[in-house]
């Protein structure tokens, strides 16, 4: 059993790295913007669908990847406008986009599953070549984290952070909080689309259901990363690194429980419970073990 686990590990790491890009996207909405964005379940599949269809139609893989990124951004834009222009609550905005995307993804692919073979196509990552896939996705993560680190240090990026941290303060300082929320969602879902595009290539097909539960995996990655590194990583870039590592840890844990005899169909329940547990820990800790509660900046004056 140990041997088969060892042979499964490199694949888990590659998967974790690909989903790490999604985790960075979730980090932007969930942690920076304080917006639980459920669009992710839809935009991941959209990214996969767009990339695979583009490549099947002869497009260069990196151009296909770019279009997947754009498609994800569009999905984020829709959610952002649902919320800011139409006043729909955050969670519901995401759910609506996610639901609508199911139909759109079907339209893009024409059927529920589109295979793309590594033999016929020049894929950027594939589970046939796991070490190569790991190296490439590490490259992606490094570049993305670098760019985001720069972005969130700019005037606009600081505005996005202020919007998530304390919208009252942000507006009082002239920040257009609605525009910056939309911007954050666009950026986040662009990354999710990119992650979906890589994942579809990695597994050799784009599937209509590939995004189901993606938000939970993304949250798990962010939270696991925070639990492990929260005390030692204080830098913004390192927060994103810990989200990626969180995703890797998640997939390694999944590999372990599969080896222990869990069915693949049990994984969703397992993931949901893991995330529920980690989300509950800070609350329970605050309630039963400590007097100092952390007070947010959104209290009404």
């Amino acid at each position: 059993m140990a041997a088969s686990l060892m042979s499964a590990l490199p694949g888990s790491v590659a998967q974790g790295l690909i989903w790490g890009i999604l985790a960075i996207g979730v980090y932007i909405t969930y942690k920076v913007l304080d917006f639980a964005d459920l669009t992710v379940d839809g935009s991941l599949a959209t990214g996969g669908a767009v990339a695979v269809m583009c490549m099947i139609n002869g497009m260069h893989p990196y151009l296909a990847l770019f279009l997947a990124f754009c498609a994800g951004m569009l999905a984020g834009l829709v959610t952002g406008l649902f919320h800011t222009a139409l006043g729909i609550p955050p969670i519901l905005s995401g759910i609506l986009t996610q639901l609508g995307l199911y139909s759109i993804n079907m339209r893009i692919m024409g059927k529920a599953n589109q295979a793309i073979s590594v033999v016929q196509y020049d894929l950027i990552v594939s589970l046939r070549y796991i070490p190569h896939a790991c190296l490439v996705t590490i490259g992606f993560c490094v570049v993305i984290i670098g760019l985001l680190y720069w972005f969130f240090g700019t005037e606009i990026g600081a505005g996005v952070r202020a919007t998530g941290c304390n919208p009252n303060m942000a507006r009082a300082q002239g920040v257009n909080t609605n525009a910056y929320k939309v911007l954050g969602l666009v950026l986040s879902n662009g990354l999710v689309g990119l992650s979906g595009a890589l994942y579809a290539q990695y597994q050799g097909s784009s599937d209509i259901n590939m995004g189901r539960g993606a938000i939970v995996i993304g949250l798990a990655a962010v939270i696991i990363g925070e639990v492990i590194f929260g005390k030692i990583f204080h830098n913004f870039a390192l927060h994103m690194v810990s989200a990626v590592i969180g995703a890797i840890v998640y997939f390694v844990v999944i590999a372990v429980v599969l080896q222990l005899g869990l069915e693949t169909t049990d994984l969703k329940l397992f993931s949901a419970l893991i995330v529920a547990l980690f989300l509950a820990i800070p609350y329970l800790k605050g309630k039963y073990f400590s007097q100092t509660s952390k007070k947010g900046g959104n209290a009404d004056a």
């Binding site: 202020a162 304390n166 507006r171 947010g296 959104n298 009404d300």
Partner: protein, 264 residues
């Protein structure tokens, strides 16, 4: 400078929670006026400030700042003209961001935000100096998260943020009410200093009648969504708390039933 004309505001109209917050407010502030605002609970003091800041839209009436009609402008656009400090120390600052980051965001109030650096080395030096002038030792903690500061320190930082880029109008909404007396005094002294130094036109709500009389050149009293008393100059300087209470009873026909005011 500021011209409020016939502003009305009713919250939750047509429901059992209907509340007429403002009932025809007219107010003209001149350049350099420092006006203190008093009144009982629900008199509409905070609502006036929130209307000026654009937190909610007015039902009718108009608000002009420096000959610009801001009545229809969204909150973030009006911010260009306004510096604001709130009652709750948590409201004015972003807790998860550094002191210097908070200041840098405030320094860009009313300016176009670009992809340039959110804070520059030159700014850091300037903020250090400004923080030094607060006398709270915050200049050595510029990279500390604001969430780690005490309420008084946060209000001092917010005050600095409000005045970093000189506002046309400074709005102070009971900004010392949540602080202990000693800290409140310190923040109030700081307020006086900053208003004086930059000659800021200021509207300050307070529940402390002594402060209302002592500070500023003009005092207004509100009751049931209206300004019922407006006094300035020598007459204001010579006011006593008892005068204000008497005035209130005379105009409103009620007793000034507000423990907070009585005790302070």
């Amino acid at each position: 400078m500021l011209k409020i004309t016939n502003v009305h505001k009713t919250f939750n109209p047509g429901t059992i929670n209907e509340k007429k917050a403002l009932n025809g407010v007219d107010l003209i502030l001149n350049e350099g006026d420092f006006v203190t605002v008093i009144g009982g609970n629900g008199a509409g003091k905070s609502t006036v400030l929130n209307m000026i800041a654009g937190v909610y839209p007015v039902d009718c009436g108009s608000i002009m700042v420096d000959d610009v009609d801001v009545t229809k402008l969204p909150e973030h656009k009006r911010a260009k003209y306004l510096g604001r400090v709130f009652q709750d120390p948590m409201t004015g600052t972003a807790a998860d961001m550094n002191i210097e980051e908070n200041l840098a965001i405030a320094a860009r109030r009313g300016k176009h935000r670009s992809l340039g650096w959110g804070i520059t080395a030159k700014e850091r030096a300037e903020y250090k100096e400004r923080l030094q002038s607060l006398g709270l030792g915050l200049e050595d903690r510029m990279t500390s998260k604001v969430g780690l500061l005490s309420g008084g320190q946060r209000q001092a930082v917010t005050l600095l943020m409000a005045s970093l880029k000189k506002p046309k109008l400074l709005l102070l909404d009971e900004h010392t009410a949540a602080l202990d007396p000693k800290t409140a005094k310190k923040v109030l002294d700081l307020t006086e200093e900053i208003v004086e130094k930059d000659h800021l036109t200021t509207l300050m709500i307070t529940h402390n009648m002594k402060d209302a009389i002592r500070l500023g050149n003009r005092l207004i009293m509100m009751h049931e969504g209206k300004i019922i008393y407006d006094v300035c100059g020598e007459e204001k300087k010579n006011l006593k708390v008892a005068d204000l209470l008497a005035k209130f009873e005379e105009v409103s026909g009620e007793e000034f039933a507000n423990d907070r005011m009585m005790l302070s």
